[in-house]
Symmetry: C2
Subunit: 332 residues, 2 copies
Amino acid sequence: MATIRDVSRLAGVSVATVSRTLTKPDKVSQKTREKVNVAIKETNYKPDILARNFRTRKSSTVVVLVPDIANPFFSRVIRGIEQTAQKLGYAVLLGDTQGLREREITYAKMVDTSQAEGIIQLDCHIPFEDQENITAPVVNACDCVRGIEIPSVQIDNISAAKEMTEHLLSLGHKNIAVISGPEQSTITQDRLFGHINSLNDAGITFKTENVAYGDYSIQSGAKAAEKLLNISPSPTAIFCMNDEMAIGAIHYAKKKRLSVPDDISISGFDNISFAEYSDPPLTTISQPAEEFGSFAMSMLFDVMKGNELEEKYKLLPFELIKRKSTGINNHD
Amino acid sequence: MATIRDVSRLAGVSVATVSRTLTKPDKVSQKTREKVNVAIKETNYKPDILARNFRTRKSSTVVVLVPDIANPFFSRVIRGIEQTAQKLGYAVLLGDTQGLREREITYAKMVDTSQAEGIIQLDCHIPFEDQENITAPVVNACDCVRGIEIPSVQIDNISAAKEMTEHLLSLGHKNIAVISGPEQSTITQDRLFGHINSLNDAGITFKTENVAYGDYSIQSGAKAAEKLLNISPSPTAIFCMNDEMAIGAIHYAKKKRLSVPDDISISGFDNISFAEYSDPPLTTISQPAEEFGSFAMSMLFDVMKGNELEEKYKLLPFELIKRKSTGINNHD
DNA sequence: ATAAAAAATGTAATCAATTACATTTTAATT
DNA sequence: AATTAAAATGTAATTGATTACATTTTTTAT
């Protein structure tokens, strides 16, 4: 493999000039630039990025911590991250953490060893051993850690849950169940808070037993629905905190020979591609997944560069998508 | 940030000894090892991986080229890659190529610049400018390039398509349509070949107009179904080359007030998590997505190490999953 | 106790770029 | 034409680890 030295020799210039031709061509006269470029072609020289990174102390790499890459919502976020990273000249290292703190920390340490320059965390944890003392550039996307000074981009989950709940209330539902995400998750808490708020505003008392916790999988949604649809009085609507669980819930409801939405309204969250094609099509909250990723990457870029952030806690717009899985309550 | 020099000074040993303590501890006496480890803790030393990579000429990184990370099947493959990479001490760089050759080449070049040591390609292209002369370690997963010496792991797509077609034939279908993947793709060609073979074996002539090409998206499946279900005589079964397109096809069929499977049988391919929960649940071919990834990573490891591969073209088992979306033909 | 072999440690070169600083060349100004 | 300023180029140090080779220390065998 040719090195910068080989090129410099062939072109009859110093290594510094070759380096400059590559990284700041405007500092080199056109004549030399051409000579050097010819030599580069001649030798088939490719700059050794490892050496460059080492010398510049920059890896031009970010690592993304994702609880589950196979989750269609997260993978869209990652697509957004990748696209913007590419534009900004960064490579994306994948850290599938399975939600394990240990693995998050392992990946986050790549910043200490200068393998990565920054971290995008899609989960609501602080990926450091010392939670108080955050030294690495990190931003949260989708979910976030409350009360900690980590920049984040998400939607206003409280308002989104309110809007969904109000939609269900407007259809005449009074006994609304919830299939929630993991109890510790910030977005879960926010959405639950928004839900309860709306209920209170409508003069309806929230009942704890109407909440079942899932893990965002279809299976967990079906299981939660089983629990919720067998309490009495049976809820007439279920607000699910993601589309997969909603699909699982619909599946269980159908199995129980309940019609969706005639017997039970079921709503989702995220608006994944399958939502539109589920039977019935899913009423859900559309989240700008790609934009989360792309925005998070832009923010991380600023943090890494030491730029001031315009907004430290960015909220992107969401949208209530009304489809056929929710309908008028005709049971009471 | 502390360097190896700081540690050596504090521990009263040479830098070589510190380095050895870290990378080959058995070459260092226990007494010194302890001294060094104390000094490492004291100084909070973290080896600079950039420097290490540079000196050893290894990045311990592989890059995976994926046409679309948001595809649930690919994201499972990637999960498998990530898990095995982690175990083998490699980091995974994400190359979302959108199927663009240009982007594939850009990412593949990371091996030339020693940013990555190897490539896992999930598409059926050769990601190099010079197609003839492959110098970088690369393996294909899921799809593969025919007639080229690139190690690959996939299922026997011909047999899988045969099995599915035979299943449909056994249900009495004689006019079977196909919603195919992109025409240039090897797996598409293999599956079509298997399909036609089975048809021939059963004495049925294959009709070109019974094939519609999609791009693996739900939408394209729905569109293809629209085309296929409006030719006459209408097919009584559709063999789709992935689950998303099958879900799209089912959606269109229902919209046309056709019952699946009573009026039209529809089958998928991949067995993504949504297949089981679609309405009706999807008859499909289960592919071992995670194993593809994990196996591909193991193979790539061997290629990178210069080890002989046990099998250059590995076939993993698939399974026909019979569910409710296919049924007896009661139309002729 | 001594010689030989093995283990442990140290010295310093090395990897391939970038870049501060010095020097030379070119352009602009009087 | 001489002087000054600006642009272009070169020299050589630098980055932080690894490792070949040399040297010292410890262990083993006689």
